[in-house]
């Protein structure tokens, strides 16, 4: 940051504090300085049934849909959605939608809920893109979500489609990351583009494309280091990888954001940030073999329009299956 920018931050910070201070100090008894902000509908509709306290959820929806449609039913329905990481605001919106459909009984409510959610999920596009040759797949996401493993799984699928694949080890940062991808490449028997720890990821990505051309491969899959989306430098580094790939391939056919199903509401900000620096056009939702429901992807699809394309259901290379909205929702309501 240069001097001017730092001073800019100082001025902004000080003014911010002044404004906050002024607001708070003027507070008592003055209606016109109230901090009430006009909110969009969801929060308002929430009000009717919140602030109830109860013990930890047990049994969740089991039996719920058989009972009467009273307040307890709607509360519990909402809690079930929240427990699936759909988020309080979205959950409230969904419950309102179901209510508005005026179901006659629990079963009707369930059907309406399911339809509502499935409709919300069905993205415009769930296929693999292959417009260039070699076709590029870039895999991105925060730390530890399952990027490298998912790459092995994607390569496996492509092998089944008789495609020749090159893997590029552009995670040159995390200890052991290059070895990890190499081991998968060996197991799969696919071409591997090596790198030195600390090498420039963009140059590894470039070499991977070069290698694909030289070996007449169909697809290049580029691994990237896990990075927290609020780390500006690392996100800029990713932007550079994207630029190089776009320049070389013309277009990155598939930019896959890997989201861990255990992720809570932060997943939304994550997705927004990655979409902001890379042309993300698909989500891989991993670790769906666990007890996490992965409901945050509903909000992610809603906010970013990026469809979930695959889910990861285990640690081996065959554990990747196409995302099925209906099955996903059923599992979520289980």
């Amino acid at each position: 940051m240069n001097t001017g920018e730092i001073l800019g931050v100082v001025v902004a910070s000080v003014l911010l504090l002044i404004v906050v201070g002024v607001f708070f100090i003027r507070r008592p008894g003055r209606e016109e300085t109230s901090l009430v902000v006009d909110r969009p509908a969801p929060a308002v509709s929430l009000s009717s049934r919140l602030a109830k306290t109860r013990n930890a959820l047990s049994g969740r929806l089991s039996g719920l849909f058989g009972g009467p449609l009273n307040d307890a039913f709607w509360d519990q329905l909402e809690e079930t959605l929240i427990a699936a990481d759909i988020g309080p605001v979205t959950s409230a919106r969904i419950v309102d939608q179901v209510k508005a459909s005026k179901p006659v009984d629990g079963q009707a409510a369930r059907t309406s809920l399911r339809d509502e959610m499935v409709a919300g999920l069905t993205g415009p596009d769930r296929s693999f893109h292959m417009t260039t040759r070699p076709s590029v797949i870039l895999v991105v996401g925060v730390n530890g979500t399952g990027k490298t493993t998912s790459i092995a799984k994607l390569a496996r699928r492509l092998q089944h489609e008789e495609k020749r694949v090159v893997l590029g080890a552009a995670d040159t940062f995390r200890a052991g990351a290059i070895d990890q991808l190499r081991m998968w490449a060996d197991r799969l028997g696919v071409e591997f583009v090596d790198a030195e720890t600390g090498a420039d990821p963009a140059s590894v990505a470039y070499r991977a494309i070069e290698r694909a051309r030289a070996t007449d491969a169909d697809v290049v899959i580029v691994d990237t280091a896990g990075r927290l989306h609020n780390n500006k430098n690392l996100m800029e580094q990713l932007a550079k990888v994207v630029r190089v790939l776009e320049r070389e391939a013309g277009e990155i056919d598939n930019v896959m954001l890997v989201v861990d199903a255990t992720t809570g509401q932060n997943g939304i900000v994550q997705a927004e940030a990655f979409v902001g620096v890379a042309p993300v056009n698909g989500i891989i939702l991993t670790k769906m073999d666990g007890t996490a429901k992965g409901g945050v992807v509903a909000a992610i699809e809603h906010e970013t329009g990026v469809p979930v394309r695959f889910i990861g259901v285990g640690e081996s290379m065959d554990d990747l299956v196409p995302f099925e909205p209906a099955a996903f929702v059923d599992a979520l309501l289980d």
Binding site: N2, G8, R26, V36, L50, N55, A84, D260, A292
Partner: protein
């Protein structure tokens, strides 16, 4: 950012009539917002329910403190309850009667066990211990290599065997540690799902062999509702003694910390705050509480502000801002008062999201002094009318304050934009979005968290919305 802040504060800072004791209806209003905040922060929905019930019991009928409104008083209770749930920050590692201290790192896949093991090894080594790392993750490809690299980096030996069973390997590692005189053994186990019977059996075997003094469950700060299941699942099979929250350098609010604490009762012993091996800290419950709630610290800020500013002055300032008459003199004056309240960075840290929105910029006191110097180098006329400042005046000011003309320009530009903003805000009645306070170009990148526009409609209309909302109940 401010959007969220105001949303969460809506009821808290609304005039809840009357002082005295906290009433049921105050509680309903405020706890509704608190519940939303907790759920948005990923506190488990059941755990949030328990917590709110405790708050209700504590707060109902309690006396409202002089400087606070009932709403703020309730938030204070919530904050205290959160801190209490999160535990004390003096949690230390166990001290075995006879060395070595055996530590086992456990958790889900990708939670950060290996990195945390490396960080812990470094910390203990720096404290004069002789740790050894044990590569017992025989599951993930290159997990052993990863630990070996980390061991090299921190200068700690790593025990590994390529083909073995984890329990057998750990037994051999303990022997090795004994032979080499290591007084700490840190075992990195494979990530596993708490419902994976086979792998959980394996972990139980490892625990039986190792008899760890500490079993640290590593939990990703981004974890959602499932944190409760995970913690319970591990607890069912092994004795967990502590928690490590990883990836706290992200911007997740980290409600999982509450969930896990509530389920396990184990202290949160460490916080991972970066990928660097020294980015490992003791856990601070106060900071975590305000991060989760997103309001706790603001109470401290109010208390501080009340000692520095008085109400009349705040009123005058607000009017000036509204009329767009807030000038550099006022700015200088307010800034010196702010500085008396504490370091700018600390103050900013009390506003939820402020540091994130400022792109993590490190503002130190020297920068503040530079801003002050530049403004002080202006004439009185320039301070009240910055438009006067042309190129040659800029050069003079830069010389006078020992800075550059670019810096003077940047300062004036930022001030001009912010002033516009404040005027709009103060006449509108809503809190500003920080983004608008910033010079949009100054922070580059499209990485900043997306914000929804803050609505600046008249307040009365908004209160009507609130009114409607109440009737619905």
């Amino acid at each position: 950012m401010f959007d969220n802040l105001t949303n969460r504060f809506s009821d808290v800072f609304r005039q809840i009539s009357g002082k005295g004791k906290i009433r049921e209806q105050d509680l309903d209003e405020v706890l509704r917002d608190v519940r939303m905040a907790l759920l948005e922060a990923d506190v488990n929905v059941g755990v949030a329910g328990n917590l709110l019930r405790r708050v209700r019991e504590r707060a109902l009928g309690s006396e409202v403190q002089q400087s606070l409104t009932p709403g703020q008083q309730i938030i204070k209770v919530v904050n205290e309850e959160l801190i209490q749930t999160l535990g004390s920050d003096t949690a230390e590692l166990a001290k075995p009667t006879k060395p070595p201290l055996i530590i086992s790192m456990v958790g889900l896949q990708g939670s950060g066990k290996t990195t945390s093991a490396g960080k812990l090894a470094k910390q203990l080594k720096d404290a004069g211990k002789r740790p050894i790392l044990v590569a017992a993750d025989l599951q993930r490809p290159a997990a052993i290599e990863q630990l070996i690299v980390l061991g090299e980096r921190v200068g700690v030996p790593v025990y590994s065997e390529q083909k073995s069973k984890p329990a057998r390997l750990v037994k051999a590692a303990l022997k090795e540690a004994d032979r080499m005189g290591n007084d700490v053994v840190i075992i990195d186990t494979a990530g596993r799902l708490q419902i994976d019977k086979e792998l959980m059996d394996e972990l139980a075997d490892v625990s039986k062999v190792a008899q760890p003094d500490e079993t640290l469950l590593v939990v990703d700060a981004m974890t959602g509702q499932v944190a409760v299941d995970v913690a319970q699942g591990f607890l069912d099979r092994i004795r967990v003694t502590g928690i490590v929250m990883s990836k706290l350098d992200g911007d997740a609010r980290g409600g999982a910390a509450i969930s896990v604490r509530e389920v396990t009762g184990c202290p949160i012993k460490f916080a991972g705050v970066g990928e660097g091996l020294d980015q490992f800290e003791v856990f601070h419950p106060e900071r975590m509480a305000s991060r989760i709630l997103g309001m706790g610290d603001v109470l401290t800020l109010i208390e501080k502000a009340e000692t520095a500013f008085d109400e009349e002055e705040a009123e005058r300032t607000a009017e000036k801002m509204a009329r767009n008459e807030f000038d550099l003199d006022d700015f200088l004056d307010q800034m010196s008062k702010l500085r008396k309240m504490g370091p700018l960075k600390q103050l900013l840290g009390m506003i939820p999201g402020a540091s994130a929105a400022l792109a993590g910029a490190d503002v130190d006191e020297a920068d503040l002094s530079r801003v002050e110097a530049i403004i002080r180098s202006m004439t009185a006329a320039e301070r009240s009318n910055p438009n006067l400042i042309d190129k040659s005046r800029k050069q003079r000011i830069a010389r006078g304050s020992g800075s550059t003309t670019q810096a003077v320009t940047a300062l004036l530009k930022q001030f001009g934009q912010a002033k516009q903003m404040m005027s709009a805000v103060m006449s509108g009645g809503a809190m500003p979005s920080l983004e608008a306070l910033q010079n949009p170009g100054a922070f580059g990148g499209g990485v900043a968290t997306k914000q929804r526009p803050v609505q600046t409609g008249p307040v009365r209309g908004q209160n009507r919305v609130k009114g409607k909302k109440k009737k619905k109940k």
